[in-house]
Subunit: 150 residues, 4 copies
């Protein structure tokens, strides 16, 4: 599944982060996954939200610098080796990874992936092979990998 | 709950990432949360694993540059506004955030937080207030926040 | 010497970078040092300019997310070992480094340093010891280190 | 001019940075340009050195994680607008920028550029147009831009 990820500039990590969550809370928008790419002085909040278009507008209205990026969402079993299998599969398909974030919960691990082919050329068509958009069953003994829904 | 986070240098994002997951899979170590802090040329994999000491050793044995960092794990309800409440609570307690990553799954959102006070002075005692280590009940109507277990 | 560094969010690395330089050029402001702290999707331009206040205003007027940070500027001789001497001196004075950028030109290397003590607590007084603000003469045979002027 | 840039992982920003400069000083290697791409917990030192091969070996021998990256070095006049002209020229040639760092000194500004085309596909041939390797004279009134030598 391809999802819209928001990237939000946090000039001041803690303070602005709290503000972002408050803006989204006021709009009743859920932040289902997030990750901060930070430097010494500031951070970028990358997040998957329940309503990207409305979140984008609300943040812009509150004077945040926001950007939208295409990412891919995958669910895989929460067992040792499952991620290695998924990454091996992607690599065999020619999909290389810029960054990712993931969290396991009980039986599944939800993964957000940003493939290299999406970012190197902003005007290029979406390069994620179609097989990634549907449940995949790698060769090793592993249950089918359902798509994760934001 | 304070957890040990591993930071692993990936000179080559995609290739080394796959190798890390393979090294951990071979050791039967589960990667329950991860996030890549990347640059144009390389990445740093931040991860919470089922056995940090053994993971550290296995990665070192395979010539990875690895580092261990203290982080705090929290679970909160997966509803709009829950994260704003947690961040407001932390801020009121004087805990500021360097970075965090989080993922919701069904009813809960698991959060890994790296507070500023842990990193600015490597020799400083752990500055996380005791209240964070146990379930907290903020003033707004929200179920108690159980600690997340890696 | 303490200088004002601008940090400018570039949602799109190449395009926005060109725009920043054009905005500054139009205002006849010189960019005497710069460094991009980038991620896969965006960048932050850190720069020392000839007129920080006017640059800040011009960039804000052109809808850039801009931030101001205190940094320290030092000049040292452009010879092997000079930087090791400066860093050893700073470390002995309890000054730790968040980041720096530097460039040698003929006889001198100009260095911009962001010390940890300036960023970990935004309300803390400037923690750079006075000795760093004036020419310092380390113990090893090295010419005096004049302050660099932005 | 294409130069070899070293990227060195600093698990601990201040301490390891000092060690890097000491290793290079002992080998009588000069660090003519550097820039730290940092996170909250660690840094990556990007540097141009007088002898990349020997620097690489010395750092590896001292157990640093080191990487080599191709970058482009350019000199341009140290006047407002010169960088905008260079970036406009590069953009017109289809060269986009991942990151760069630059420092002015008296009459010239030395610039290190990492173009996108070099990093998105590690096996791609060098995509820097030949015109960048030689002095270029943009249309605006500006003295010729000589190549910078590491």
């Amino acid at each position: 599944m391809v999802a819209k990820q928001l990237s939000i500039f946090l000039e001041n990590k803690s303070g602005r982060l709290t503000e972002v969550t408050e803006v989204l809370a006021k709009e009743d928008i859920n932040l289902s996954a997030l990750c901060i790419a930070e430097n010494a002085d500031f951070g970028i909040l990358r997040g998957i939200v329940s309503d990207p278009d409305r979140a984008y507008k609300a943040l812009k209205d509150n004077h945040f610098a926001v950007n939208v990026t295409d990412v891919v969402g995958i669910s895989c079993p929460n067992v040792p080796g499952a991620l290695a299998t998924v990454l091996g599969y992607l690599s065999a398909e020619g999909v290389f990874i810029e960054y990712m974030y993931s969290f396991a919960n009980n039986n599944v691990a939800n993964v957000v992936i940003r493939p290299i082919s999406l970012s190197s050329n902003p005007t290029a068509p979406l390069m994620i092979p179609h097989e990634l958009m549907i449940p995949i069953t790698p060769a090793v003994a592993m249950p089918p990998i359902p798509m994760w829904r934001a």
